[in-house]
Symmetry: D2
Subunit: 425 residues, 4 copies
């Protein structure tokens, strides 16, 4: 299990090494993959690994080097358009659904791009004055890169899952099973409570400003929904009973032919599921993963419960340390809690699976976007998505915090997404 | 201008007459329309007028007569499926996109269906004990019917707009123009404030329970966004600047080729717009209508403002009487305010145009759906939609109240939808 | 059974009465239909009955009156665009998939349009010189109208079939069943044989010029494929065996979920099928109808046969009189042959069902299109369609001849289309 | 320029070496491509190069080794499904649109697959008796492989064209321009003429049986339509005049936004076009390429001509030797004729561009498909496609003959397809 270092004010002098570490982590994730593994795009929502490797580099080239490096010259002028994701302020961009049309530059050249930009950034920030100036952008770029680390794993998993051979990303299975954690209900008081980020340490604009919310007393499940819960839901005809679903969710069930979470396959011996370590039997004790918001909502309703609001989640999380089954544990799949719960406290708030909340992804009161192209980072996506909290087995520990807001459309299932239920007190 | 009667506890003895009035109002709206006008369906989101006439009758037949009429026999057994809208609990339903495939029953038979069900309902409730038992369903059915009265107008308008001749639903133009209301900013204090419905009078489940919200001080525009504002937005290239739009909104602009609100046509003499009285010049002074949430949001951003939350809207509305340019005024199009504003108070909170808020349509804390099929009325749609407040020129006065929550997807433009801007204090 | 009058050189003096008869026949077909029946469009390939009534009138207004009537003024200037089908040479046209958006003009006004144009055309041709000039256009217009008579029935049938009540166009069933005609193989010699139209009488440009073809000896079935053949094909898993199908046909089977001909429904008592007289049991002895080219081809292959070429069909037809179960018989559905076969001769070459041939619809050697907009009648559709021969129960007798070439895309099933098999000698 | 060896009866003893040569040619075409170049799929109609490399090997493994190798064991059991193209008789197949989802097996493993199957086939046929038995399958497999050699180039070209950098497959440009060949009309007599394959040498089933056709006198252009002709067509508004187009072709123009042949880009200096050697200026003198049937037909009509039938083409070709700008010339793009025309004879009948004919792709009289799965090779595609003749700059010389029938749907443009016009005498 991974425990994140203590939260503290960023120290610029440490940034170059932190940056190098993050960049190295990305490369390590791509290690062992062929150029072919890295070039293919499984669907418009996902991107090729090579694109992630290049786009995270583009971020430093365009936002750091282009403005701050004396005598800046681009590594390749075509990359400015080719690896722009969605920044309208930067100008043209290559269409997202066509990211899988790019065999050239090949992986080797993208790796060379990474190396050169890394060297030039590191050279740039040897000057302490320049380091101070670009420190906020370096920090943003590191967190941006950590988001793409997670996407590298989720997008690759989606690609490999479409191969009839169900090939593994990493071999072996690092853990032995443990006994399940029974679901207990934990009580929390209502009242005016602050949520959102403030003060020291990096946070995205969408976590700010810290502000008061008014909560009613509520209860939260001690652990996430488990695969056992999902099996019981399936066995109780959950995927065939419209009264359990939101109307749009029921449409997704019918149109997508959903009968189980994404990647589940029913065989003679019961359910198995595709993982980054190949096809594995479904274990009842593991937090349920690859659930859409619709499924999380329906399972909660079937349990006589509901999803928590993001404020409830954050308040319940409190000062819980950022530790758990995170990216650095190298498991790349959720697993049952290996740590005894403390009295009155939930387990697995961080890591394993992102937890859907009932909160649509909107602006906090007083929200302001940043100036310039980086202002496109979050605000313009505040429509039609739901907030997830807590990180997953593919999230870097140093990327997370209790106030962190992830967001996806309600039908999305290819992320490591699960849920934890709540109810009114 | 229409002023709604005072809000009061429903008196069952008055219900039969109230019901007869509502049913007559629906028929009056269909008056002058041919069987052909009533049979066509312009798009999957809209329904034929004939379907609305039948479905509102179906509601009384299935929810009232079927359970409470001794010796109940259906008017036509096929109608149970044919005119079910979305109640999974009732069983099968005819697919929504195929409502325009039904030439038989024809309009005359649907009108006969209305007459028979009306007579049987009235006969049923002559017994006071039965009236007491079905009073809640009658009340719900009346409000349900009033919702469909509005849809009759909006769906018919969408159909007529697709006719190259741009035919009018009603002839003539009943009003002379008036001087515009300048936009003023009105201030409201923050704090804990109650919203939602409680106590006497009918309200939908989605307006309940009444509960406290925590507001920060805010300002609200004294009047809705006007067509003049929209023209200025267009002239400032508003439909061509992605930085003004939500990302999903910009996708809608590109895919839909949006260059102005729905129904606007640019001619040599400037803009004109299709109305239920035919094609008319666009008047700057009229509240802007046929805006999607995306357009409302973009125009607000361009004005340096934002949309209000639904709580802000409701608090600002306060005890404002339900009066304005509503269905009963018979204009069927928004018009400039004809009433001087009171100091510190907004105008046109009710009527003219539904006002988009920034609030996604979700459950209030403690929300409970009703038991049985009528429980499908609201809750299952709480995903991916935004709340509109205040009613429009097509909303019946007795249908509205300050707590009323309408909702549509963010790209919807065929309703009488506009907006009013807000900003942080 | 209907027998067509003898083929002869058109006599201009008879044209006005012939025209009046054809126009009256069209009205008779629409008799008993409501405005609603006539206004709805079931799919982009089909048109509302009202549109057919108007477009056939438009043909005379635009091609006859507009050029030949002194002081011509249009009945309604908007109709020139609204009721243009596909004549690019005439200018704009209303999009075909939106023909079902038109509630106004209503049916009454379209009927008034018919009356006025009819009167003005008849007035025009009282002058013998003018009659001579417009005679070719009148003749074309009559045949054009007869094509739309058939489409009125097929498009209406498609619409009514989508109504869950399966309503009948005409009540009752006019015929008692007869004993089946066994399939016999008839032999035909090879050699150089002329096909195509020449000489007296009207024919479309696509039937010309008459030209020689080289045939090999062949055999033709004495009767069309019957419903009994189709039932045997179904029972032999014909709809589940890809080896019986063209590749594109198999795609249609999978995508369309085809398990039987269009309109067939399997019940506890066996197959029934929707007809213009409502839902009826499938009779084995009736020529199979609502077959796509793909189904006709697959059934032929399953029978160890093939479809004939159009030249084979025409040569085998020879001087067969144009008589059979045609529009005038008023049955509107195929039926078993009621006439004993002559030795060595096929039955039901005309009427009952159009017979798919293996010939793609292309230009005859030396084909020339007419000058002007009427030149768009046929030639521009010579791509991706297959030729059908012999007319159906919805084809007017005076419209047919042995050289007549009908054509539809291979997946089309909503016409009265069947087939007759052939094989190499 | 490449000249094919004289046509002769296949000599089994030569087959092993011929097979080795063909297999080596395929590998040579893939030479210089990265795993990424070979793994991507540009559209459902095209396949990744790696898939072509594997599928052509699968053909020998499944049709030759599986039935004839003692103790056969598959290289990889999963490949039987993964690399089946469309043979329903073999069982399941991986869906065509998902061929681009396969990063594993990677290119190296597919190359190992090729080597092993090659070795095992060569070992098998060292036994002369076995060689005799499998000779027909080896021959079919070689021709099958040559078809995929052409597809390797056309599918790769389509992929590279979607890369904004327009990367070249091969560098440099091997030819200097030559003077143009003026278009002359060559006359051919009518009468009964034999077409189709007979006798010695390999031919596909769709070229058989040889049979008589009846032709009318006709004229054929001495050379294909040139880029100069296309430029004149464009300058004469050819892409904006519906009267020049088939109706379905005009739909393609509007839906596809066609303004020029595929791959053309208009710049300040005129037209350039993407080739396998990168972006190049369009030369007027080169045979026009990347034309759909619709464009070929429209340009012919604009020239006052028409496309030839495939019988006319074959008769005009006569005993013309199979030589020209073919695959072996290594140019991979059409070029102007470098050889003086002989009197009365056309140039460039073979090579440069496939020539669309007006003939739909159907069965010759007496056509019989082969038994078993190889019988799916041709017959089941005989619907909705048009015949092309003469081979292209991507066709192997030994693969071609005058009777060879290629076929594609009328809207296809990604092949090396052009046309040659004809007219009635």
């Amino acid at each position: 299990m991974i425990r994140r270092q203590t939260r503290s004010r960023p120290v610029p002098a440490l940034l170059p090494q932190q940056l190098a570490d993050v960049r190295a982590q990305t490369l390590a994730l791509a290690g062992g993959l062929s150029g072919e593994d890295c070039a293919l795009q499984s669907m418009p929502d996902a991107s090729p690994v090579k694109w992630h490797l290049a786009h995270t580099t583009w971020f430093f080239e365009v936002f750091v080097l282009e403005s701050h490096e004396p005598g800046f010259r681009p590594f390749d002028p075509a990359f400015r358009v080719l690896f722009n994701s969605y920044y309208e302020g930067i100008g043209n961009k290559h269409p997202r659904p066509e990211r899988g049309m790019i065999s050239r530059p090949d992986l080797d050249r993208v790796l060379a791009y990474r190396r050169e930009v890394d060297e030039r950034v590191q050279a740039l920030v040897r000057d302490p004055a320049r380091l101070l100036r670009v420190a906020p952008l370096l920090t943003l770029g590191m967190h941006h890169e950590q988001q793409h680390q997670e996407l590298i794993l989720t997008d690759l998993k989606d690609l490999l899952s479409r191969n009839p051979a169900r090939p593994a990303y990493r071999d072996g299975w690092p853990l032995t099973p443990v006994a399940p954690e029974p679901l207990r209900w934990l009580s929390f008081e209502g009242g005016i409570r602050p949520i959102g980020h403030e003060g020291r340490g990096f946070a995205f604009d969408n976590e700010q400003p810290r502000h008061d919310v008014l909560l009613r007393p509520f209860e939260l499940a001690s652990r996430p929904i488990s695969h056992g819960d999902v099996i019981d839901f399936i066995d109780d005809d959950g995927y065939r009973r419209p009264e359990l679903w939101l109307s749009a969710g029921w449409d997704s069930v019918l149109q997508g032919g959903w009968q189980a979470p994404l990647h589940w396959e029913r065989g003679a011996d019961g359910w198995s599921t595709f993982t980054l370590r190949g096809l594995c039997p479904v274990s009842r004790d593991v937090p349920a993963v690859h659930l859409s918001y619709f499924e999380a909502d329906a399972i909660a309703r079937w349990m006589g419960a509901r999803l928590p609001s993001e404020a409830e989640w954050e308040v319940a999380c409190g000062e819980e340390p950022v530790e758990g089954n995170l990216l650095e544990s190298g498991i790349y799949h959720p697993c049952a809690s290996r740590k005894p719960a403390r009295p009155g406290r939930p387990v697995q708030m961080f890591g394993d699976v992102w937890e859907w909340t009932r909160s649509d992804y909107g602006a906090y009161p007083g929200f302001r976007t940043a100036e310039g192209a980086v202002g496109e980072y979050n605000g313009k996506f505040m429509c039609g998505q739901y907030v997830l909290r807590g990180g997953s087995c593919a999230t870097a520990a140093s990327h997370l915090r209790a106030t962190y807001r992830n967001f996806f459309p309600p039908q999305a299932r290819w992320q490591f997404s699960g849920a934890r239920v709540a109810r009114d007190a």
